[in-house]
Symmetry: C2
Subunit: 557 residues, 2 copies
């Protein structure tokens, strides 16, 4: 049966509102207000359709309980409490292909869509992580009853089912954009609910709808099948549902990949992974606000970074250390680039002669990460780009290194006003990124020797000109992803720098004391994991790169 | 020159108090009070000796500045501000061996000990991480002046020096217990200070003294060279210094190793690493107290574990997830087993049929970790066992699994009083560990099917007997290192369990809602990293397995 042809054109889930009945807009894109109205209307219709579907399902169930030769082949399984372990082989949807033609398979998956062109037939698309397979349940004597088809057609999207069936090769590749198994479908013989939806209200949105790109949604508004727009707040309020999209399944595998590559590169070079305390006695380090914690009869503060303990680990002779862990910022910034808690990738390294030994490691590290990601995660990147299209960029073998005065010159040539010792604005970072791209043919560069005044107190002054410092940022598509420096390892100079910054030494005694015990010259860097993922994938909002993001207004889920 | 012979018998650092003048104890071990008095006395004498050494060093420096043909070959380097990058090759001390006989080397290291048998000669032991090499500086015409030898003899222990010299094979292995390069020494031609000590007070203790085992110190008390006892508080107050011991360098490499092996095993099996928020809206999960955080105009709470978000990741279809990150416990427990912040190794996994699928992964994981550690970290383990001797133990290929009633029976046979549904006391855990060892010849086992009443509300009841549950602990040398269970994935049952535990559903709405959206059956576990390291290495106090430990009384360093 060439069922994949019947699958087209794609339709919304059975329980979804019938978009075909909607009026066409006049050809111009919908305004936000129109979108809201439309969404409200769709919502109402969907609720209605869902109620109808539920009634139908209950009816089907009733009918099914009357005399049904197939009653063993479908229905709800008892709550899994590990009643038995048969050892039967469960197949991953991703493994299903034409190569298994004729083979019986057993698997669990979620209902993504269902569609029933007749009372004797139901098509189900079943999803697991970012794989999706088309399944067919057709009435058949002694095997599949009419009641069974009706029941299957009434299952809610997002229900987890356990399916037995036979793999069947298809003649033409299945064209549905969500189905990933293109050359085969599964003919269902048994289908049971493992875990159903227990919602008091309609599902907030369909995973199928949550995976469209903005461009796709925009374009659809002038057609007779306008797609629903799902805003970031709706997504984050229902993050568990949102995370089920293929895009999000892939984003967090990339996030894992960045950490894995980070560690792989550093482990190979003798770095030691450390875990430093997030509870600190003093609120210090930099101007950024810190969160205060009630600590028994006193107070503690959440670490803004592992800056102090990682440097103490260097004075403790660990030589090269890194940490991946949460960092906390009590800044009331409500922007697409800020969160109150994120994951820091931090490293610190003693060097022999010159901090550029550390810069070499850092540029090697990021070149490695960005060269390996597309090699090892090509499937994930492809999945994400469907929703978030972004240009490929060339990662050069040798990352360009600019000194700050050179950057100022390039910015002025590009028409920007900037003082010799001013920090770059976000806009200037972007302009500089473009200028570097034009000049060096690279989307990636390091900016070295920042003005001392705009860097933290623990930054080593440049010995040739103490208006500058031995500090650097890395930029990626004109946006900062890394910040670092050679640190002051001499306690006298450190005290002098703290005095200039109005930080009392008493507040950071254990830190300063670490250098009184003799400390090798060292440099390091801090990188925001979510920022790397966001910029690399072009996600536009850092919250998309955080599984359960935290900002001044969001502490849940 | 057979300088290694002159090295014996070992002496304390030049600047240390002369222990030879001490009186012998009467042969019985010293009481704590006697130890304290003795330590105070040693301390006083050491301060005196240090002052004398400093005066001598200053004198040497003055003399050196007068007419000295070797003045270029020693002295203090300017503060390293990355003035130049010559690219000269720096050798790691660990690479020095007889194979380099006659070769010139350049390296940086810390002074561990110095000893001058005559005005023309000084022996230095130089340390980097857990490697230590013996060096000789001998007066020589036109190369090494008398002033240079004097100056070198006055350098403080823990000073970082840069050394140039020639590797020289020795005839007999160097017997010093701290020197790790046994078959060669370095004849120094140049020596400069990279970073000196800038202490206002004498150094709190010597790294050399901080590396002895309790048995060694105990035994020395009845000899004419009693060793100083350095208590854990003194160590933790001066943690940067304490961490420089070979033992601590090795402990934190083992800690890294546990994390690395944990990830390696799980990555190979398709797990996704996640990072979940430590800032939570509600104080919940279990009876354990949580820390309250001031969060803008409201409050937040520090996560006691990633339990809730990791389960939400399962409902979000990630299938298999793990996290390594800090967890916080606001319990006022001042014991050798408790900290207020530690590193959790957490994992959670959806299964097809039975939670024993997850138990299989967990037992495979820990068998892998404990089989690989001695293979990959034999050097580190050897170093640690010198200070913390502990028996090897056999890790069986198949970890024994006991059910709770069986454990109760074994405990009763061993004379313990325990009710059918009681939790095990620390003592009973130890007794059970011994009984299992005798019966199954294993130091490692899992205890399955704990009584439901003593497990958290999210634990799945046993379908055959709801006085029990589908939960388990792993024991290692009779001490619990892991706790886990199949979780309740049905929202109705979860609500019922929460009601029994008097936890309002409203406090954990996003968590319960995650299961209303359909969730696969799943199980998981949480493990304390420091606990694993502590028990594996027999460290006796969990603080020794934490770089900068936190407890109710300690927030610094």
């Amino acid at each position: 049966m060439a069922s994949q042809e019947q699958q087209q054109p794609e339709k919304a889930p059975a329980a979804a509102p019938n978009l075909d009945e909607e009026l066409n807009p006049d050809g111009t894109p919908l305004s936000d207000n129109q979108k809201k109205k439309r969404a409200a209307k769709l919502e109402k219709e969907r609720k209605k359709a869902e109620t109808a579907a539920r009634v139908a399902a209950e009816k089907a169930q009733r009918e099914a309980s009357e005399q049904d030769f197939a009653s063993q082949n479908y229905g709800e399984l008892p709550l899994n409490q590990s009643q038995e372990r048969t050892g039967r082989k469960f197949t991953d949807i991703g493994e299903i292909s034409a190569a298994l033609d004729g083979k019986d398979v057993l698997f669990t998956a979620r209902i993504q869509q269902s569609r029933s062109p007749s009372a004797k037939l139901v098509f189900l698309t079943l999803r697991k992580r970012f794989d999706c397979v088309q399944c067919v349940l057709a009435q058949a004597p002694e095997k599949v009853s009419k009641q069974m088809v009706k029941w299957a057609n009434g299952i809610d999207a997002e229900t987890i089912v356990q399916v037995e069936g036979t793999v069947s090769k298809v003649d033409k590749p299945i064209e549905s954009s969500t189905v990933t198994v293109k050359d085969a479908e599964v003919k269902i013989s048994k289908i049971h609910v493992v875990s159903g939806l227990k919602l008091d209200e309609p599902i907030p949105f369909y995973v199928d709808d949550a995976v469209r790109s903005d461009a796709e949604i925009q374009a659809s508004q002038s057609t007779d099948r306008p797609m629903a727009f799902i805003g970031i707040d709706t997504r984050l309020d229902n993050r568990v549902l949102d995370l089920r999209t293929a895009t999000n399944q892939a984003i967090f595998r990339i996030q894992h990949g960045v950490c894995k590559l980070f560690r792989e590169f550093l482990d190979d070079r003798g770095f030691v992974e450390i875990h430093t305390p997030k509870l600190q006695a003093a609120a210090t380090e930099s101007g950024a606000s810190v969160f205060k914690v009630s600590y028994f009869k006193g107070d503690a503060f959440l670490a803004q970074s592992p800056q102090l303990p990682k440097q103490m680990a260097i004075s403790a002779d660990f030589g090269k250390v890194y940490e991946i862990g949460p960092v906390f910022r009590a800044e009331d910034s409500n922007t697409p680039r800020h969160m109150t808690e994120f994951t820091g990738l931090d490293l610190e390294m003693a060097f022999d002669e010159h901090y550029h030994e550390v810069l070499d490691v850092l540029s090697g590290l990021f070149t490695f990460i960005f060269q390996q990601l597309p090699k090892r995660y090509s499937k994930e990147i492809e999945v994400i780009r469907k929703q978030f299209p972004v240009e490929d960029f060339l990662v050069p073998d040798q990352m360009p290194r600019l000194e700050f005065p050179e950057a100022v010159k390039m910015l002025r040539e590009a028409g920007q006003e900037i003082g010799d010792y001013d920090d770059l604005s976000t806009e200037q970072e972007r302009v500089l990124g473009k200028a570097v791209r034009d000049k060096y043919k690279s989307d990636f560069f390091m900016l070295d020797r920042f003005p001392l005044a705009i860097r933290p107190f623990y930054t080593m002054p440049d010995p040739k000109d103490d208006k500058y410092s031995l500090s650097y940022d890395f930029f990626f598509r004109g946006q900062e992803i890394l910040s670092g420096a050679q640190r002051v390892h001499d306690p006298k100079l450190l005290e002098a720098r703290m005095a200039e910054a109005n930080i009392p030494v008493s507040a950071m005694k254990p830190y300063v004391d670490a250098f009184r015990l003799g400390c090798p010259p060292h440099a390091g860097a801090g990188i925001g994991l979510e920022r790397v993922v966001m910029f690399y994938l072009g996600l536009g909002n850092i919250r998309r790169a955080s599984m359960f993001p935290r900002d001044p207004k969001r502490l849940e889920p």
